[in-house]
């Protein structure tokens, strides 16, 4: 692959490279000469690890006896990269490689300086038991983390570049033995047809890969947990890893995946079953409770006990607006509070929750703007939304809730039931890379995975 056959071009190539990068002040072109030994280095200072460069290239150059020795030494280095074209060399330079001109050859070495390779603690999906470290923001480190957890020769890592302008590397990781071929093909072709100038986060990538312009529920799963990545690799899914993003995306993903916490695999059987039950309970409460309140207070007060009807009626004394305005008012404030605590610096979050939750809640009931019951409901809804383990799904549920509230406002309990059926229909109609979104798994996990094994 070296430029052996194009000897006269080397000078030109080097010239071209330097010209391409010229206006930048951090481009360095450094000829080294000692006695009859001579090499030239071209690199971008800000992305190259200077100390390492000094250690593995510059110092040996001056120590080695002859040019033959230097050539043999350089060609034996493990971080040497293949050179295919001058454009590729240019791209690699921007990523932190060093071009070494040795006689009539251009050699490329990967001496990156990465400041984002610290592995962070799990932040988005924390668990009590199980691995506590998530991923870093550097693709190399991340690949290392995944490979270290999944030792299988059939684990395949393909790297492509996405983003017309930013040219980020994207790793497509899968287990050759179990991966669904159709899914893999579909994902690859979708990535190829991507037409975005800059892609910065894996969630953004997910939106572009989704295929639909407007979508309500996520069809790919975002995760920062390496154990979840490995778990899904082993069941034949495809993992996408974008450089610079501390999260991976898993495809395909069905609805139930979003309700699973990795802890479900680690805990005791009945304990995890119980927490799973709690999660689904939370899902339903956060979905239907606001709608149910409106339906029960304004359309069908006979559904619940007379004591409840009387106490709701009592607590609504003096509330000026109809029930759905009351619910909407409190829900919107709750959402604002959630939104605010995400955006605010950590030091101020406490104030926001105190002011919002405590003061607003109490004052709203004192001022008879909202009934006591609605404060309980909004509180219950807020808490149960957070029970859903994958963030994206809980955001989606937050939205769906309003649709149900609207349905209940229009037609009471019947509307609520119809709305639920509608949401069910929507979920059923979706698919994630050919996998039905609301697929029910009757078979054991082993059987489900085994169907994907390739004949080879």
């Amino acid at each position: 692959m070296l430029f052996k056959n194009r000897k006269p071009n080397v000078e030109e190539e080097l010239e071209w490279l330097i010209n391409e990068l010229k206006p930048s002040s951090d481009i360095l072109h450094k000829p080294l000469r000692l006695e009859d030994k001579q090499i030239e280095l071209v690199y971008i200072k800000s992305v190259v690890d200077g100390a390492q460069l000094q250690q593995i290239v510059i110092k040996p150059f001056f120590e080695l006896a002859s040019e033959q020795h230097v050539e043999a030494y350089l060609k034996s280095l493990p971080n040497q990269q293949d050179v295919t074209s001058k454009e590729q060399v240019l791209l690699e330079l921007t990523k932190g490689s060093v071009v070494v001109r040795l006689k009539d050859e251009l050699l490329l070495f990967d001496i990156k300086k990465v400041n984002t390779d610290t592995v962070r603690e799990t932040n988005i999906e924390p668990t009590i038991i199980g691995p506590q470290y998530a991923l870093s923001e550097d693709i190399g480190t991340n690949l290392n983390l995944i490979r270290q957890r999944y030792h299988k020769p059939s684990l395949t890592v393909e790297t492509v570049e996405v983003g017309k302008k930013s040219q980020q590397s994207l790793a497509i990781i899968y287990d050759m033995e179990y991966v669904g071929e159709k899914v893999l093909k579909q994902i690859k072709s979708k990535i190829e047809s991507l037409d975005q100038p800059v892609i910065q986060s894996s969630t953004q990538l997910q939106r572009f890969l989704n295929g639909r312009k407007r979508s309500m529920v996520p069809t790919m799963m975002m995760t920062e947990r390496t154990d979840r990545v490995v778990y899904n690799l082993a069941s034949g899914k495809v993992i996408l890893l974008l450089d610079g993003s501390p999260t991976t995306i898993i495809a395909p993903a069905v609805f139930w995946d979003f309700m699973t916490s990795m802890e479900d695999n680690y805990g005791l059987y009945w304990v995890t079953k119980f927490s799973k039950f709690l999660r689904y309970l939370g899902l339903f409460t956060s979905l239907i409770l606001p709608g149910l309140y409106v339906a029960a207070t304004s359309f069908n007060p006979e559904v619940f006990r007379v004591e409840l009807a009387l106490s709701i009626a009592g607590s609504r004394i003096g509330v000026p607006y109809p029930s759905f305005v009351e619910v909407l008012f409190m829900l919107i404030f709750m959402e604002l509070l959630t939104e605010a605590s995400i955006r605010l610096p950590k030091a101020v979050t406490g104030t926001a929750t105190t002011v919002g939750g405590l003061i607003l809640g109490t004052a709203a009931t004192e001022a008879a703007l909202a009934s006591n019951i609605i404060i309980i409901i909004v509180g219950a809804v807020a808490i149960s939304t957070f029970v859903i383990p994958i963030n994206e799904m809980s955001f989606a549920i937050r939205l769906v809730r309003y649709l149900l509230l609207f349905a209940a406002t229009v037609a009471g309990l019947a509307g609520l039931a119809l709305g639920l059926i509608g949401i069910l229909m929507y979920l059923v109609s979706r698919d994630s890379f050919g996998q039905p979104y609301l697929k029910l798994f009757f078979e054991k996990k082993k059987a489900e995975t085994a169907t994907r094994v390739k004949p080879s």
């Binding site: 359309f299 007060p301 006979e302 007379v306 004591e307 009387l310 709701i312 609504r316 004394i317 759905f324």
Partner: protein, 373 residues
């Protein structure tokens, strides 16, 4: 530029329309604080021919802090020619929508029972907001006095009349319960007679007592069952598991508390002249009260004595039903149901019923004497 504005107009219009529509509430939409809940309905009979029905509604007035002030009740009363006209007039007397969704007790005055029952319950069956699982009862001295009674044990927000009948509150073997749907079935169907609990109030309206029952028969006068008969009816109808048997013998006086019981009956008409109703009663219980020292080795003897007593008591009640021509247990219905239809089964039964002999087979087994020795 102009085009751009037009382009924006459509979504803008839609958003405004949705916002406006959202703040309009439809006709089905009525907030809970704009409704007033009817908890029980009483129907009394007036002496006048023109306005025979006197309708009383017991309404719950919610208050801001139920725990402190409790629920207050208010009453609406109107006399009219029919129940629906009375309610229409009553609607004009409240500022809120009358909501019958929680009207779970319907009390008839005794006089009303002499009228055509189909006619009276028709109103309750047709109204969709009165639930078919409402309880029906008879008020003494009048439905109005029962509704207006506020027992001292009645707590905030919980209606005493409901607690009598649902099994969440008191569970008593004396209380006969009758749901509206069941009452209707019994009224319409031949071969089974409607039975209603009697709600009795004291003079000062501080006490309600539900210990008796009335069996209504469309052909004859309603017959009242006393406490003992009501309990035995409950036992035979499998309505109550609990039952107290008072055993009075020459040398043995004790009371048995039965906690599980099962009653089945079988109609045998092999001989048309001597039809037999065989009733099997199985019960399990313990001795609850005795005036002699009980001996656990003699449990078998006690059981036998108890069985005998139960047999005697049950036969007495059954014979009373037969003599009065009453059939609250549905013997006639069972007869019709277990034989091929020839369109005159009920007539046959009416002939057979007075000739029936009862064979009661009681088997009580006492588990313990109730004391640790």
């Amino acid at each position: 530029m102009k085009k751009k504005v037009q382009h924006l107009a459509k979504p803008f219009f839609i958003i405004v329309a949705v916002m406006v529509l959202l703040f309009q509430s439809g006709c089905g939409f009525k907030d809970i604080d704009k409704r007033i809940f009817v908890l029980s309905i009483g129907i009394d009979h007036t002496k006048s021919e023109e306005k025979p029905f006197r309708v009383v509604l017991k309404l719950a007035v919610p208050s801001g802090s139920i725990k402190q002030s409790g629920t207050e009740y208010t009453y609406l009363t109107e006399e009219s020619e029919s129940i629906s006209t009375a309610i229409r007039i009553l609607k004009s007397q409240t500022d809120k929508e009358l909501d019958f969704g929680h009207a779970k007790v319907i009390v008839f005055g005794e006089e009303v029972l002499h009228h055509e029952l189909e006619e009276i319950i028709d109103f309750f069956l047709r109204r969709r907001d009165i639930q078919m699982i409402s309880w029906v009862g008879v008020g003494q001295p009048s439905a109005e006095s029962v509704l207006k009674a506020e027992p001292e044990s009645e707590m905030a927000g919980s209606h005493a009349l409901f607690n009598f009948f649902d099994q969440n509150g008191v569970e008593s073997s004396l209380i006969v319960t009758s749901y509206l749907f069941d009452f209707r079935r019994r009224v319409m169907e031949t071969g089974i007679d409607p039975i209603l609990p009697v709600l009795n109030t004291s003079e000062d309206k501080k006490r309600i007592e539900v210990s008796r029952a009335i069996v209504v028969n469309s052909d004859k006068k309603p017959v009242e069952l006393n406490e003992k008969q009501a309990t035995i009816y409950n036992l035979m109808g499998n309505n109550a598991d609990r039952y107290d048997v008072r055993v009075k013998n020459d040398d043995l006086n004790f009371t048995v508390a039965i906690d599980t019981s099962k009653v089945t009956f079988d109609i045998n008409t092999d001989s048309k002249q001597k039809p037999i109703i065989k009733m099997d009663i199985e019960m399990v219980g313990i001795i609850q009260e005795a005036d002699v020292d009980t001996d656990s080795s003699k449990l078998h003897t006690y059981s036998e004595v108890t069985s005998k007593t139960v047999k005697k008591d049950v036969t007495e009640v059954l014979t009373m039903f037969q003599e009065e021509g009453l059939d609250p247990l549905g013997f006639g219905l069972r007869y019709k149901a277990t034989r091929l239809n020839n369109n005159k089964r009920y007539e046959e039964w009416k002939e057979l019923y007075p000739k029936v002999t009862f064979e009661v087979n009681a088997k009580a087994s006492l588990k313990s004497t109730g004391v640790i020795e």
